[in-house]
């Protein structure tokens, strides 16, 4: 196996609607990453595209349609897809292109254009359900997460010995933290320096227990990342950031046949990744993490799955401020999905590019104090069943 280094990252603005086509967004992100790494299209051996449902962009075989924007015209190019997990899965796929020795330099581009789907991006989400068992009930995607949120909240409240209402308050603190963290991120859609827990709890109820500010809204956007193998990394940098390990895991389709309080699949993916990355004690060896946070409770749920705290106690950790940017274990220093936006696959920008920028000391105002050496990014997708984890380390 070859060691794989990250040498460039880029991302576009995240907004509900962007004027650019999907190709053009991919171009912006890919170009930024190429400029960062100092390479041109000629240098790229293979390209990986990550893009979530075709039903958002409204183009069948959308990977094929986007490829010229990803510098892939005339190159080996493949698209991988894992629902929401794509944001970290595409970089994992890029990693194996290089780690296997097939490519020396690999470009990973993630693009999403959710604003294309009308009447609402939710219309596309309607078709992720089982056609026979669920779709006749006309479900809304938010229901699914509301149900998981409820199950998790009840468990966590019991575990921490607090009331459900108190637990919901603590969970709301995640939104406050992330939206404040996003201040200073040029791409952010939802940064808000003055938001309070009260604002979150008093925003309209979408599907109890989910309030409007508990959700990251649909966005357009793109992100890109460039890998190279250790053999050639000396051409680009003296202080490379390496991929320590990767992991991915999927649970059963039958989500009503699972206990939703704990994400087993996240734990499995994290263990796979940690084993390869030599992380024996996650709470000690990991300096900061970017778990997937499309909903407030998900950040906590995933922290537990990633073994960063005890089951059911992530809310307490948040409440005590340990997950702040200057806390013991900074979580989502980029602002996450709640702060920056959620163009499904393009969240690679917060979940992986951010790891790179933080480790390389390039995060500017968002930089974590101290000397972070190991960061872990994670994404989650499908019907609450897919987890993808990547660990980056310095040196």
């Amino acid at each position: 196996m070859k060691e794989v280094a990250v040498i460039g990252g880029g991302m576009t603005m995240f907004r509900r609607h962007l004027k650019e086509t999907g190709k053009e967004l991919s171009y912006y992100a890919a170009k930024m990453a190429m400029e960062d790494a100092g390479i041109t299209k000629k240098d790229i051996d293979m390209v990986v595209m990550g893009s979530a449902p075709d039903a958002f962009d409204g183009v069948h075989l959308k990977g094929e349609n986007l490829l010229d924007g990803a510098a892939a015209a005339g190159k080996p190019y493949v698209r991988v897809f894992n629902g929401g997990g794509t944001g970290v899965f595409a970089p994992i796929a890029g990693w194996w292109h290089v780690a296997s020795g097939v490519a020396d330099i690999c470009l990973v581009v993630c693009e999403e254009k959710m604003g294309n789907c009308y009447p609402h991006p939710q219309t596309a989400f309607r078709h992720i359900w089982d056609p026979i068992l669920d779709r006749p009930l006309n479900p809304n995607l938010v229901w699914l997460f509301a149900m998981e949120y409820n199950r998790y909240m009840n468990f966590a409240a019991q575990k921490m010995g607090i009331s459900v209402e108190k637990c919901k308050e603590w969970i709301a603190e995640v939104a406050v933290k992330n939206k404040r963290n996003a201040v200073g991120h040029p791409c952010a859609q939802l940064a808000d320096p003055n938001i309070t827990v009260k604002d979150v709890l008093e925003s309209e109820i979408m599907a109890w227990p989910v309030n409007r500010l508990d959700i990251s809204p649909p966005s357009d956007g793109a992100a890109a990342l460039i890998y190279c193998s250790k053999d050639v990394v000396h051409k680009f940098t003296d202080d490379p950031i390496y991929v320590g390990g990767v992991g991915w895991n999927i649970d059963s389709t039958m989500w009503t046949n699972r206990d939703l309080y704990f994400p087993r699949y996240v734990a499995n993916a994290a263990k796979m990744c940690y084993k390869k990355a030599g992380i024996n004690n996650p709470t000690r060896d990991i300096d900061f993490a970017e778990p997937y946070d499309p909903f407030t409770y998900k950040e906590l749920h995933h922290m537990e799955g990633m073994l960063l705290c005890e089951k059911g106690e992530a809310a307490k950790m948040t409440h005590e401020g340990e997950t702040q940017r200057d806390g013991r274990m900074p979580i989502c220093p980029s602002g996450g999905l709640l702060g920056v936006g959620n163009p499904i696959a393009a969240t690679m920008g917060q979940k992986v590019c951010e790891l790179y920028w933080q480790l390389a000391g390039k995060a500017g105002k968002r930089q974590i104090p101290g000397d972070p050496r190991v960061g872990v990014g994670m994404a989650w997708g499908d019907i609450m069943q897919m987890a993808t984890v990547i660990a980056l380390r310095r040196g």
Partner: protein
């Protein structure tokens, strides 16, 4: 046009050496109102995307059972587990499933939500109660999703006992909607 940049082109070279990444955000924001007022050019397309999925044997038996007012599960003897909804194979041991069983139409609420959104994300005033029901005769955490009815949104809770309310027999068509909803059992 909102926030039209003077130069929409991406000019990274000018910012080379800057230590804050991303150096700035390429892209041009468009508001929903700009689209309605046709301030940008756009194309529109309405695809025809229609399917007729083969239901498969397990779903046929399940749907046929619903028509008769029964909820059918299937047993995996190797794992000693009743699968509801049924399928032809067990995902844990990867062997075929064997014996059909009725799981009854009563159960408990595994989890629930009170939704103020309909399926197209439109806001509604009278909330929909929705949740996962674990059947009494199935293993723990093995259930289906369905609506709740005749239920007070203040009183719904996890672990509440519920019972299916069926459509009249002549209106059933072999679909999950043959069950109208689940209602609280007496004493709840």
């Amino acid at each position: 046009m909102a926030e039209e940049k003077k130069d929409p082109a991406f000019r990274l070279r000018e910012t080379k050496g800057q230590m804050s990444w991303p150096p700035y955000a390429p892209g041009t924001h468009v508001r929903e109102s700009d689209i309605r007022e046709k301030k940008i050019n756009y194309s529109w397309w309405e695809p025809e995307v229609q399917y007729a999925w083969s239901a498969g044997h397990a779903m046929n038996v399940f749907l046929d059972g619903l028509k008769k007012g029964k909820i059918m599960g299937i047993n995996c003897k190797r794992c000693d587990r009743i699968l509801v909804p049924p399928r032809m194979f067990c995902e844990y041991c990867y062997g075929p499933t064997e014996e059909w069983v009725e799981v009854g139409d009563t159960g408990i609420i595994e989890t629930y939500s009170i939704s103020y959104l309909d399926s197209d994300a439109n806001r509604i005033t009278e909330p929909i109660l929705i949740g996962v029901i674990d059947f009494d005769n199935s293993p723990p955490h093995h259930g289906i999703m369905h609506y709740f009815g005749e239920m007070d949104k203040e009183k719904i809770k996890i672990g509440m006992k519920v019972k299916a309310v069926w459509k009249p027999e002549n209106e059933r068509e072999g679909a999950i909607t043959d069950i109208k909803y689940f209602k609280p059992m007496e004493g709840e």
